[in-house]
């Protein structure tokens, strides 16, 4: 599969910008502290909120910061580049290649996520573990399952962002939609508050939406809130959303490339 070359190239692209990476790590770490203290206050008031103890809640915070860039929790994540290419007409260049547009961008996104998991994930998590009592697994198998779950989450995140980006074929300016999509992801992925801590049926519904596959499920795997059958169900849930959204993306892509004018001369 030569698409791995796309992923590898994308990894190297992101690796080129070291200062941007460092700035990102700094931001993630600062946010981690702010939210961690907020959670400490919240959990002091409501211990075992959503079934998490204090250490699990803190781990949730730092996992979210570690995955913020890799899983593109605020959207963006390189697919704003796709939007720009559609608007400027540079997408024509992508279409001249003997490549499938969706697979190309999926490969590029996985490469990006791979770099950002290392470049922007490890450091905040380490700082978090240094300053707060985190509940991290000792078992390497759990870490591997966590990474698998993160990878599936990235695919779901990509599939959603790809759909939003394709809308630029019709909207021309997709910035507004991207903003809404970013807010939806921030809220429904569990980044603001774990979905299990949402009250009543809102929490139940939120845990069935695709955004839950991006952060909530991987984090639950890491902190041991999912194991055994529940863990398998979680992974299946992620895979199902990934497949469904990628398939939807293909349909929209076919419609877009069939109908829509490639912008510019």
């Amino acid at each position: 599969m030569w698409y791995t070359a796309v992923a590898a190239g994308s990894f190297r692209r992101y690796a080129t910008y070291r200062i941007a990476t460092a700035a990102g790590v700094f931001t993630n770490t600062v946010f981690g502290f702010v939210i961690a203290y907020t959670y400490l206050a919240l959990w002091a008031e409501r211990p075992h909120l959503g079934g998490y103890d204090r250490a699990q809640a803190l781990t949730f915070v730092w996992t979210a910061q570690a995955l913020l860039a890799a899983s593109a929790l605020l959207f963006g994540g390189g697919l704003d580049e796709l939007q720009t290419r559609i608007r400027s007409g540079d997408i024509a260049v992508d279409l001249y290649r003997p490549a499938d547009l969706q697979l190309w961008w999926l490969a590029a996104d996985l490469g990006r996520a791979g770099f950002q998991l290392i470049g922007r994930g490890v450091a905040p998590m380490a700082v978090g573990a240094l300053f707060f009592p985190l509940d991290l697994p000792a078992d390497p198998a759990t870490w591997l399952l966590f990474l698998l779950s993160v990878a599936l989450g990235v695919v779901v995140s990509f599939a959603l962002r790809y759909l939003v980006s394709l809308a630029s074929f019709w909207l021309l300016d997709g910035a507004g939609l991207a903003l809404i999509a970013g807010l939806a992801c921030m809220f429904f992925s569990g980044m603001v508050l774990p979905l299990r801590a949402f009250p009543g049926s809102l929490g139940e519904v939120a845990q069935l939406l695709p955004w839950a596959a991006i952060l909530q499920v991987p984090t639950d795997v890491l902190i041991g809130a999912r194991s055994g059958a529940s863990l398998l169900r979680g992974l299946a849930f992620q895979a199902a959303w990934g497949v469904a959204l990628l398939a939807l993306g293909r349909l929209v892509q076919a419609a877009a490339t069939r109908k829509v004018v490639v912008q510019g001369g």
Binding site: P98, V262, G265
Partner: protein, 334 residues
């Protein structure tokens, strides 16, 4: 159709439906015929210039030829492939270069992009080596291979893009304004390379440009498109002659007569019943012509038409014409 024609275009059309504001809420749909019935063939190994003013339909044609726009009508085959239906299969056999866009990986060294091309087009190692070496040599890419593309000058990037389009031995190369924004030296380098590639490998080249020197130095055949129609398809010399311009005298005679022959300086280009069209050089006065026709033929009415096609070409030629020189094609700007 004839064998040996690599590009076959027959009655090609592209109609865009555009909605325009017409009042506060009302939108009126109207059609824009970007490409309006174009027919041409390009045999293997030919280098053809495709020119026309901005918005004439050049890029739209190229997008259809590469399969990224679906034609509204007409027939289109590249090496027997219908581009819109088999875009990916066609993509393996063509190369495309845009002067204003790049296929290269912006943040990475030039050679990384070539490596990706090798894997994407499944170029055999030996072929890849040969082609890369040849491109590197002819386009002076040696010192640039390890430089990130964003650090290349426009001329360097352009050469890099052209090499990227040729590593997989395409049968057809589409070049959309490959010399735009380049300095004289870079232009010369790109042109001599294209000549070389065409001569060495017999790559068919279709080239759009606003720089007529490109055409003059590369193409024996030129096609001119305006308002979506092919208004000229022929040799460069023919284009020059057309560029000097002809006007048309349309005469209505009393009855149908054989084509007017004995009027000096004019030739009949069309006869339709009692109406005849006489073409004559734009620089010549119409008065003696009218007198001559009136003396010898039963003239009922007449009208004078200014050139349409030639108008386009005259515009393209204006820079050098203004210098008072004969209409040679414009030289590189200083």
């Amino acid at each position: 159709m004839t064998a040996g024609q690599l590009i076959e275009v027959d009655g090609l059309e592209k109609v865009f439906s555009v909605r325009r504001k017409a009042g506060r809420l009302r939108r009126v749909r109207h059609e824009v015929r970007a490409v309006d019935g174009i027919t041409f063939q390009v045999p293997r190994g030919e280098m053809v210039g495709y020119i026309g003013p901005n918005g004439a339909g050049k890029s739209t044609t190229i997008k259809m030829l590469t399969g990224i726009l679906v034609p509204s009508g007409g027939r289109l085959r590249i090496a027997g492939i219908d581009p819109a239906r088999e875009r990916t299969r066609l993509a393996r056999r063509i190369g495309v270069v845009f002067g204003q866009r790049t296929t290269l990986w912006w943040d990475l060294p030039l050679k990384d992009s070539y490596e990706l091309v090798r894997r994407m087009y499944r170029v055999p190692d030996a072929v890849y080596r040969t082609n890369l070496d040849r491109c590197t040599e002819l386009l002076d890419l040696g010192p640039l291979l390890d430089v990130p593309v964003r650090q290349l000058s426009l001329g360097q990037r352009m050469r890099g893009d052209i090499a990227a389009a040729l590593l997989h031995d395409p049968e057809v190369l589409y070049l959309d304004e490959p010399t735009i924004g380049l300095d004289v030296v870079s232009k010369a380098k790109v042109r001599s390379f294209l000549r070389e590639v065409n001569a060495e490998r017999g790559t068919t080249v279709l080239l759009t440009t606003h720089d007529l020197t490109d055409i003059e130095q590369l193409c024996r055949r030129v096609m001119v498109i305006d308002h979506g129609r092919l208004v000229y398809d022929g040799s460069l010399d023919g284009l020059r002659a057309a560029g000097e311009g002809e006007r048309t005298l349309v005469v209505d005679l009393e009855r149908e007569l054989p084509p007017i022959q004995d009027v000096p300086g004019a030739r009949v280009v069309k006869v339709e019943g009692p109406r005849q069209w006489l073409a004559f050089p734009a620089a010549q006065s119409a008065a003696p012509l009218v007198t001559a026709v009136a003396e010898r033929y039963p003239l009922v009415d007449l009208s004078l038409r200014e050139p349409e096609i030639e108008g386009v070409i005259a515009r393209l030629y204006r820079p050098s014409a203004a210098l008072g020189s004969p209409p040679t094609l414009s030289a590189d700007p200083p």
